[in-house]
Amino acid sequence: MRRLLVVLVLVLLPVLAFGAKQEVYVFNWTEYIDPGVIKQFEQETGIKVRYSTYDSNEAMFAKLKLVKKAGYDVAFPSTYYVERMRKLNLIQPLDKAKIPNMKHINPSLLNKPYDPGNAYSIPYMWGSSAIGVNSKYVDPKGITSWNDLWNPKYKGKVLLMDDVREVFAMSLRSMGYSGNTTDSAQIRKAYEKLLKLRPNVKVFNSDSPRQPFLNNEVVIGQIWGGEVYQANQENRDIKLIYPKEGAIFWADNMVIPGSARNVGLAYKFIDFLCRPEVAKKNCEYIGYATTNLKAQQMLDARTKNHKAVYPDDAEMKRGEFQSDVGEAIMTYEKYWEMLKTQ
């Protein structure tokens, strides 16, 4: 019995010792923050950061849905998940007065259909998916549209994302529809068009689409803007082209879940991440585009002018952010399964 007590005390001691300290529970994508930034926050505020990671929106969503109280204080869902979580009351409205540094966020990234007025979310990192080409094999001047991927001369040379929404958004936009459509007739048409693309497709990859480009396995296809920037450090021939139908944009956003333990600390942490010097550090560490205009201006000339990472305003207007499609996702998935079993 006494031994049991000793064991109990030993187990509980660290918990008791740290219990007095303030803690903020952060739930973020893997490799999505500069560890130095966390340390800096802890030193400045004395608040301990309890950091956990996830590798997909779905995993994050499933976990947040299960936790009813005393959950995470800050999470980073993508656009369409912000919308979904907002509809299900899983995240709470933000008090902008507590985030003074929000003024540095790029206005052209705010007030998008997935979260009007940014009532619930503040964009953290963002980027595009557009057409990647290897200019050694494909003349970039000849490529202007998503429809160029269907050109028979690229048989077995095309890369598509391994992501149902990205692939369908591309096909939908190539026909002039919205990539966020919920109309099953349009989704079916997109599927029928994708069937014709299949002979051209060599690989589906959305984890690291630059690799098949760098390996000379494909010469044209979908790619993330940030991946082109990373590819260029090895090979300058990989280029990004914004199609005339518009690129597909994504953003990951800071939100406060409804089940947060400590909302006050969550605001402190979010405001800290919106500080330009901190945003710059994160952006340099992660390699994606920062949403922080001030931080962007502080970057070196090559990075901040790299069009693949920071598209100009015209491209921004032409493109579209992914938003939630609700129950239509079942239709998308049905056609995706059919496409993949052909």
């Binding site: 779905e58 589906f204 990859n205 396995e217 129950e327 995706w336 399964e337 079993t341």
Partner: protein, 286 residues
Amino acid sequence: MVRSRFRNFSIGSTMLWIIIFVVVPYIFVVLFSFLERDPVTTVAWRFTLAGYGEILSPVFLKVCWYSLLLALGTTVISLLVAYPFAFFLVRLPEAYRRILLLLMIIPFWTSSLIRTYALVILFKANGIINTFLLWTGVIDEPLNLLYTQTAVFVGLVYTLLPFMVLPLYTSIHKLDWRLIDAARDLGATSRHIFFRIILPLTMPGIVAGSTMVFLPALGLFYIPDFLGGARSMLIGNFIKNQFLTTGNWPVGSAASVFLTLIMCLFLYVYFLSSRKAHTGGMGDMA
């Protein structure tokens, strides 16, 4: 007394581990497979067979068929490669045998994911094999190696081969060579000796090895994804998409239960054949 307490503890803790992390989650999977999908609460507590109805679709049957073919192909290739290897391994002097067995096991110290990436480096268009062949002038254009069916089989066989070799090695090792000498004395041809004596006696190893290759091959989907270019959907991909993309847990659960049933069927066949090997025929004489 102390020994029996230790025994109870070790059995008990293992059982507890299995109950918490295998049995209980699996009960949930079975339970969810009979529930209704709900967009807000994930599942609604209403009994339905809709999950099973949905996996009877032609798409899922295609997915299953392709997964089974892939696993079966991997098993057959592994067997054809491993059997002669295990056979010659047994006949080597002990010192060499130990080294070769060790070499067989060493790759296990590295994660299979990393070893799959290593295969990508070998196979890619500007990879080691193509660069070498281009340099020697054997080819002018890089060969299409990566993202092919062959690459998928190479990856699966490479990863699972030791599971085939080790059981085969054990059962060939136990083979009584005097039986073969006797058969030869009595005038049996080499073909007869192999098919009538060696093959039946090593059947337990063949069945064990095949089971140990076939079952994991059925579930491994990252190797076909990386080396095959993710162009086809396997059972593993299908289940993952049901849970993560559409949030359709009942269908994902039903597909998982279906996969488990297939695996149980194969384990049952294994159980039957291993019992037969122990109770009757030549097995006892060896």
